[in-house]
């Protein structure tokens, strides 16, 4: 249908494709060009590479290993609050990392609930910093993700298989071997790679819980090389290493079948016939309780410990909150413009949508470093810190957002393309009158996602911001560094509320008045 795809001007999409490629690859090139000498990786850097890979590997393995029994329990039990729990499983995706860090500290830290329990039992409290802490935070974020995808996996098993299993009198071992294992074998490798990838680029976790020769990730090393030593050559070299690690993982994820329904719906409980046994009931309840507590208690800790201080926060916190809000809204707007332009041009050249996914393998720190080098000769980077943050966040949100907007745009064109063509609804009128109204729901969801991700971002802004120009997450990080934990808790609660509210309002706005 050659005539159909001409209906919308491809230039905005091509420009965005160029821009996104520039942010993902061009910044890397800029860093490489600016580097005076590459030198070799010293032992500290080698340790960073090893730590990055090792922690990401164990984070992925632990997250998935724990998610399997939790997902199975959730998939086959219906109980009061199941929907709420599954919704809660979606929360960590838009939860600001710094909030989770504070919540985990409150529970597992030196003065936390767990340490208190251990002391009562006469044991030494474990440290939350270093390898343990990084792993803990990564499992906190990725266990829910893995669980949701696996629940979906269980839901995709045809109900007849479980009926057949019941009529053939399968034991739980047979059910696992013949039904569950084939499903898991399909999903788990892709899941491991995705989580591995997420964990190699989670800068904020490494910044707060990591550090020192034993627990520095490559991204943290880039940050230190850049911020403390201003050693661009070292930063460039590390940026290349980081890109290689992410690129390898991203390629692996393309090759493996990666589960798609990341933000899928509220799957109903699978009807099963092997759940009557008392033992399996006890085991399922235990896993559900574990997951609920593991997710909810750190968040509750933030609410309980932050609430008393939220109204008495210093002005600096409020002004940083305002800065974050502006950045988040700007980033959400940019994300939507980018995503819609790319999805439209991808109607014609499908592969262009792949460019939007490039940033999966790119590191925001590398982007930030590259942009810093490029703008430095012309303007003081600190002056445009928020603009750059919004842009980088928008590019980083694109892979997630495109997954929801791309298919929606394609479906709309499949359904209404011929009618629009026949009436001559082309160009901007096509976008305004047909496509945007038809993709309202994914648009609202995407804007909410992008806004929340940007609101909670503690990445590129750490490179640029002046002391008096912090965003809210950065402000919280500084309060933590200054051991003003009460204020940090109060500010974290504020950030939590703002992030969730942004997501909720946009998502609601997309679905609320949607005409069918």
């Amino acid at each position: 249908m050659a005539s159909r795809v001409l209906a919308i001007n491809p230039w905005p999409g091509l420009i965005v494709a160029g821009l996104v490629t520039f942010f993902s690859l061009g910044t890397l090139a800029a860093v490489a060009l600016r580097a005076d000498a590459f030198g070799a990786l010293d032992s500290f850097d080698v340790a960073a590479v090893r730590f990055t890979v090792v922690q990401a590997f164990w984070s992925a393995v632990l997250s998935v290993a724990l998610a399997i029994p939790v997902a199975r329990a959730l998939a086959r039990r219906s109980f009061w609050g199941r929907r709420a729990l599954i919704t809660l499983l979606g929360a960590p995706f838009i939860l600001p990392v710094i909030v989770a860090i504070l919540g985990l500290t409150a529970v597992f830290g030196r003065n936390g609930i767990v340490a208190y329990g251990l002391t009562l039992a006469g044991l030494e409290p474990i440290s939350i910093y270093g390898f343990h802490g990084v792993l803990l935070a990564h499992v906190f974020f990725n266990l829910p993700l893995a669980t949701r995808l696996l629940i979906h996996g269980w839901g995709s098993v045809p109900a007849e298989q479980f009926r057949l299993a019941a009529s053939l009198d399968f034991s739980w071992r047979d059910v696992f071997l013949h039904i569950e294992w084939p499903m898991l074998r399909n999903l788990v490798p892709g899941l491991l790679v995705i989580i591995f990838l997420i964990c190699t680029t989670s800068f904020a976790v490494a910044l707060t819980f990591g550090g020192g020769p034993k627990a520095t990730t490559v991204e943290l090393a880039i940050y230190q090389a850049f911020k403390f030593d201003f050693d661009i050559g070292k930063a460039a070299l590390l940026a290349g290493v980081q890109f290689a690690i992410c690129g390898a993982a991203a390629l692996a994820s393309l090759w493996l079948s990666v589960p798609q329904a990341a933000m899928g719906g509220q799957d109903r409980a699978v009807q099963r016939f092997d759940k009557g046994r008392v033992m399996s009931k006890i085991i399922d309840s235990a896993w559900i309780t574990f997951a609920t507590l593991f997710l909810a208690v750190p968040l509750l800790a933030i609410v309980m410990q932050g609430a008393p201080y939220i109204l008495s926060l210093p002005t600096s916190v409020w002004s940083s909150a305002l800065r974050s809000l502006v950045t988040a809204l700007g980033s959400a707007g940019l994300t939507i413009v980018f995503a819609v332009s790319l999805a439209l041009v991808a109607l014609r050249w499908r592969w262009l949508e792949g460019l939007g996914m490039l940033s999966v393998a790119a590191s925001p720190l590398v982007m930030g470093t590259g942009l810093f080098i490029m703008v430095f000769p012309f303007v003081d980077p600190a002056r445009i810190a928020l603009l750059i943050t919004a842009l980088v966040n928008a590019v980083m949100s694109l892979p997630f957002v495109l997954r929801s907007i791309g298919p929606a745009v394609r479906a709309c064109e499949d359904r209404f393309g011929p009618l629009s063509d026949s009436l001559g609804v082309t160009g901007w009128a096509r976008v305004r009158l047909v496509i945007l109204p038809r993709i309202r729901a994914p648009l609202g969801f995407s804007a909410g996602l992008a806004a929340a991700l940007s609101m909670g971002d503690l990445g590129v802004v750490t490179l640029f911001a002046r002391p008096d120009g912090a965003t809210l997450p950065l402000q919280i990080y500084r309060l933590m560094g200054a051991y003003r934990m009460e204020q940090a808790m109060g500010a974290a609660l504020l950030l939590l509320v703002l992030s969730l509210a942004l997501f909720y309002l946009f998502d609601r706005g997309g679905r609320g008045r949607a005409k069918s």
């Binding site: 249908m1 050659a2 005539s3 159909r4 001409l6 359904r415 209404f416 011929p418 009618l419 063509d421 026949s422 009436l423 001559g424 609804v425 082309t426 009128a429 009158l433 047909v434 109204p437 038809r438 005409k515 069918s516």
Partner: protein, 231 residues
Amino acid sequence: MLSLKGVVIEQDGFRLRADVAINSSRRVAVLGPSGAGKSTLLAAIGGYLPITHGDILWHGDSIVKLRPNQRPVSNVFQDNNLFPHMTALQNVGLGINPNLRLSAADEDRVLRALGAVGLSGMEARLPAALSGGQQSRVALARLLVQEKPLVLLDEPFSALGPAMRVEMADLARDVGARIGATVMMVSHDIKDVERFAQDVVWVEDCLCHGPRALDDFLKAPPAGFTTYVGD
């Protein structure tokens, strides 16, 4: 006059040939077994499928290079004829201005068109608040304001019940007469065709035959037609 000269349409290994001339202001039924290529023929005339050989002419001018909306053609498809997020008035109004910026006079024309198809007072409704028959009426009202001289109806009423289909076939005939257009309709129901058509184009075995006058066609139908209708 619409003429298809040595036209060949190829799609996924399927190949349809057509050498057909249709006089202006005629009502033509396009008949043939399922999968024979009836819809393919209409899609090629409408500009949705490229032709690999031959030419399509309207009053002697080739239209194959024109985009769908530039052709002298208006359509009613099998489904998805209305935008679900637009009111009946907006859906018809698109036929006047695809930007949907309508002057008072434009709106007036839309309201008259809606009145002519029996939908007075329903202009503010969304398609979801209209019955299947009423939705078809909106699509027909749009043909009235588009005023294109060639109307292509691709099984437009296949989702409706038998009585409603007959009513719609009558209405389609009236709409065609009002704007003096040539109307081509793909249909599966010989009852609709008997009420509606003057001529028949028969599509079978990758070839378009005709057109022949309806009476003549029914008196001496092609062999495939008897099999198709099953007496």
